[in-house]
């Protein structure tokens, strides 16, 4: 009995609200139904393939190129969103101006818009004859049907994640720490890089992780602008769909498994860093 209550004590925070058992149980069942079991079937299926078949399908040249493209563009888009998402969050938190609500709503639009619509719109704009494309084309910058186009689509999709995760932290931080830095003699750049940026880094990383994860799995907005050339502009999710259309279920599963493992590893790494940092600061 003693050992049981001790070990329970270590797992649960004392709380005025009862029902740890109930809420934890529901959480586990829910996660299992919605996330774990569907994902497990993918693993089970690929486990039944045999190793050499798995490697042949999951690590073919075409698949490797697709991974590189998907993870590469998602990371690039995530990084761009970190910079501009922070900028937008900053403006939304620190300034009041007419139309602020409209801008706020605009940020969330990529969440709501069917991604295919975004894809078609972006392609129209960035095609060599499109609104923006016609100015870029003479400069030798090709956007539509290149990795650059894919990145732009993913930037569009991922923007809200960064803005919305950074915004509350910036608002919570308030002006006082900046003023404190100024009274101690810090300039603007010193205040930004030594005070503000480290304070919002966890939120930025969370925003990046979500935008990145979303970008890796994004399909609808990318397939229109990417051109889908195997080995060049074919993203991994598209490769999976292509495999499915050819009834190559094993191949699709193998690629999905590789993507899952890599994504999970990256997210785990980012989360692990956050936990480490929090624990160090004793918060």
């Amino acid at each position: 009995m003693t050992s049981l209550s001790l070990s329970r004590g270590r797992w649960r925070q004392p709380s005025v609200l009862p029902g740890f058992g109930l809420t934890f149980g529901v959480s586990v069942i829910w996660l299992s139904l919605i996330v774990l079991i569907p994902l497990a079937t993918i693993f089970l299926r690929s486990a039944g393939m045999g190793w050499s078949d798995f490697v042949a399908a999951g690590f073919s040249d075409r698949a490797l190129a697709a991974y590189r493209l998907s993870f590469g563009t998602a990371a690039a888009a995530g990084l761009v969103n970190v910079v501009f998402g922070l900028l937008i969050a900053w403006v939304l938190v620190r300034y009041s101006f007419p139309g602020k609500r409209v801008i706020g709503a605009l940020v969330d639009l990529p969440f709501a818009l069917p991604t295919a619509v975004a894809g078609i719109a972006l392609t129209t704009i960035y095609a060599p004859s499109g609104w923006i494309g016609q100015f870029l084309d003479p400069l030798g910058v090709k956007v539509a049907f290149t990795p650059l186009g894919i990145t732009i689509a993913l930037i569009f999709i991922g923007l809200p994640f960064v803005v919305r995760s950074v915004e509350p932290v910036l608002a919570d931080m308030g002006l006082e720490v900046e003023e404190a830095a100024a009274t101690l003699g810090a300039g603007r750049a010193q205040t930004f890089f030594r005070i503000i940026l480290p304070s919002i880094l966890p939120a930025l990383i969370t925003g990046f992780a979500m935008a990145f994860a979303r970008g890796v799995g994004e399909y609808g907005s990318v397939i229109f602008i990417s051109g889908n050339m195997p080995g060049k502009t074919e993203i991994a999710p598209l490769l999976i769909v292509t495999q499915l259309e050819q009834y190559a279920y094993d191949g699709a599963t193998a690629i999905a498994t590789v993507m899952l493992v890599v994504s999970f590893a990256i997210l785990l790494l980012l989360n692990g860093y956050q936990t480490l940092r929090r624990r160090r600061m004793g918060a």
């Binding site: 006082e176 003023e179 100024a182 101690l184 810090a186 304070s199 160090r280 600061m281 004793g282």
Partner: protein, 316 residues
Amino acid sequence: MIRVNNLTKRFDDVSVLRDISLSVEPGEFIALLGPSGSGKTTLLRIIAGLEFQDEGEVLVDGRDVSGLSVRDRQVGFVFQHYALFRHMTVAQNVGFGLSVRKRNRPPKREIEARAQELLRLVQLDGLGKRYPSQLSGGQRQRVALARALAIEPKLLLLDEPFGALDAKVRKDLRRWLRDLHRQMGLTSIFVTHDQEEALELADRVVVMDHGVIEQIGTPEEIYMEPATPFVSHFVGETNHLPDGLHVRPHDLRIVEEGGEAVLVDNVFRKGGVWRVEGVLSGTGEIVEIDLDAGSPAPQPGATIRVQPLRSKSFGG
């Protein structure tokens, strides 16, 4: 020496400070005392350069610093809620001011040593590696103070330095701050809405209300010779007797004949005295009287007569 001349400040057409003038001598410990919203923080922020006045000037050693940005003014500012850098250790917080210096920034070793020294001064040696979230309120307060002292400020400004602390810690920290101020030869201004704190700590008290200075004086002067009814009210306890007489509870005594009749409501011990609460028969005003604990206490329901030993008249 700090001089503030005819300072005025408005926020959106609302006057927050009106014609504020005061001077602070080197080594002085000044309290800005007033109720919440009276403009104390705003005045402190203008002196620091965190806010800018609409009219008037702030002189430091005779030089107008109005055009000087906060980073060039070299004032130590301790914020009401400390504003510690949460992602830095205590030692890094304290060393920050030295580490951002553009000109003659000390080497890293020296900054660390200086931070240790300051932490010892504020009695936090050994806690340098902790993060602010791992400290108590009183400890955070002292980190904020050490951080402000690191830049060797000409002037130390503290906004409600004890506001967020519980009564016991407050009392200890108060005395300690007073000693530190003397020991280091600082010139300090602190904001408080607690009259007891102001009277106990300050060399001189500046009493403010609604953006106006009501009185500047030593604690003795403020308490014994309040210049306005507001001061008499806000600093210490005051009874209203007829004809505009303001009398402290301990300046009333019981008499057999004459004086004012008071119907006693309640009698209890308050520290070393009897506190008698009653109602003036004439005006219905509530009266508080402190009687020597050695004397017999009147009974609730009885009517007594009281006479002021000392009073201050503010006219009818």
